[in-house]
Amino acid sequence: MPTADWSMIGPVLAVLAAALGMVALDLFPRRPWHRSAVEWTAYLGLIAAIALLHGAGEPRVGFGGALIADPLSRFMSLAILLATALAVPASLPAIAARGLLMAEYLALLLLSAAGMMLLVMSHDLITMFLSVEVLSLALYVLCGIARKDARSNESAMKYFVLGAFATGFLLYGMALVYGAAGTVFLSGMSDGIGGTEGSVLAVAGVSLIVAGFAFKLGAAPFHMWVPDVYEGAPTPVTAFMSVAVKAAGLGALARLLVGGMALQADAWGPLAVFLAALTMVVGNLGALTQASVKRMLAYSSIAHSGYALIGVASAASPEATYAVAGISAALFYAAAYLVMTLGAFVFLMFAGRPGQEAETYDHLAGLARRRPWAAALMTVLMVSLAGIPPTAGFIGKFVLFKAAVEAGQVGLAVIGVITSAVGVYYYLRVVVVMYMHEPEEVPGRKVEPEAPPFDPNLGWVVAIGAALTLLLGVYPTIFLNFSRAAASTLLP
């Protein structure tokens, strides 16, 4: 095993070591500094992982072809590590308030992140499948980690049952693709299949794989689980899974379809178009009617999967430049979506009090008067989710729609613009409620006019989310260059 191979997986090893370290710490007799030791082990692992991600360098395939380190894997690993690093401080108040198992919670969070990083590095179908399983299994448990909360149990149960079903699709599809290609390695897969004509096997396999990933991304018609699971899971878990799984899944899907099955684009292209169009419509219409902000954000996350899939659909174009533009736009959008949605979910905890999160629109009424800063940060996030400049959401949608029009997917761009206009209504409703509504006197629920106690950690996470949203909106060039580099090395 050459040492260069080991340096490829340095970030994954750092995260894994931190996860094991936290559990190990928990097995010893508790000391007063126990909780902070566990917390700092997590931070240390994440910082080490980000430090080890350094060095652009040439794309490198290692470990006998199982893993690849290239700009795509680095871009997505960075996004995943950022989401994890924000999810850890966001989780601590919930862990304390609901009496959750701290070491196991954080270890599972980091193990899930390690699975995601392996997923975006996967260069063969078996590693890809096992990474999906590592990240999913950890998330099933995290959804149900509030063991005495019936909604958390329901969330874990639904996610697990439907997730296992989707895993079946994914595995069956991989088996068929292997049968058609004669190889599990992405290099040589496209040539092994040799075009789509005459290979119903490959087409069936690709369709099943796309369906499996569509489930993980929460794309319609495989989105049914999203609102219930996101609503029932502890909010920091929702914040983490709603962004990190999508980043990892999108990275792997792009690698598999564009990198591994470029010659079969006429098989998966129409599927991606169908999924993108349906997902945008279903997500946005679903979000319109929600009374709970958490459910609204869940439907919003479905809608945003649809937008990101526009990029994948555009990448089916036979022109390499358009394919690069499509994937690059999808990757940038995943990063933009990550910072704004994570911030928005954490805001729900920040706006409530310990043990009682803000859930409905009514809970947010008049928040601007009580907590002007919190309301301002949420406004930034909502404006970005709605796709209004000068925010990340606007730039993301702009590059996506531009890529779609260039690649000839005008229909998708039109659906994207129309559904974004629908989205403006429900995102800005949050802002209107915060700034213009008076807190209602609900019988049995006292509304104190003074600011309730809140955790400053949560405030920092929301603030970082909002700041990055603005940064990506105002100075998108560096990030766009990064995502373009990631997309261009992907093409065979």
């Binding site: 095993m1 094991l20 559990v23 190990a24 097995l27």
Partner: protein
């Protein structure tokens, strides 16, 4: 040809089972009565269903058994090939066993192997 032996063996096992059942059915007396179908022919009447909801602890033991069972599956090829694989194989298996072994230590220290 070697599979013919397996088929012969399977046939013998199956045939023997069927033969015993058939012999019992044909030769034994059969006079069914409702009382004979009771779980305890000469006890008090049943008070409740025998199917009760069992402790989740059984499940925990069973799932842990399966997980370590799967670990064993991976040990077999290594055990067969360990001479040829040499130090590299030992290292690879060492990493695997350490990670799963860490899981065992966790289960142990958490007291999940104790009967509550």
């Amino acid at each position: 040809m070697e599979w013919a032996i397996v088929a012969l063996y399977a046939g013998a096992v199956l045939g023997l089972g069927v033969a015993f059942l058939a012999a019992s059915r044909l030769l034994g007396p059969s006079r069914p009565k409702p009382a004979k179908s009771e779980p305890y022919e000469c006890g008090v009447p049943l008070q409740a269903e025998s199917r009760i909801r069992m402790s989740v602890h059984f499940y925990l033991v069973a799932i842990l058994f399966i997980l370590f069972d799967i670990e064993t599956v991976f040990l077999i090829p290594w055990a067969v090939l360990h001479r040829q694989l040499g130090a590299a194989g030992l290292l690879e298996m060492g990493i695997f066993i350490s990670v799963v072994g860490f899981g065992l230590v966790y289960v142990w220290r958490r007291g999940a192997l104790e009967w509550e």
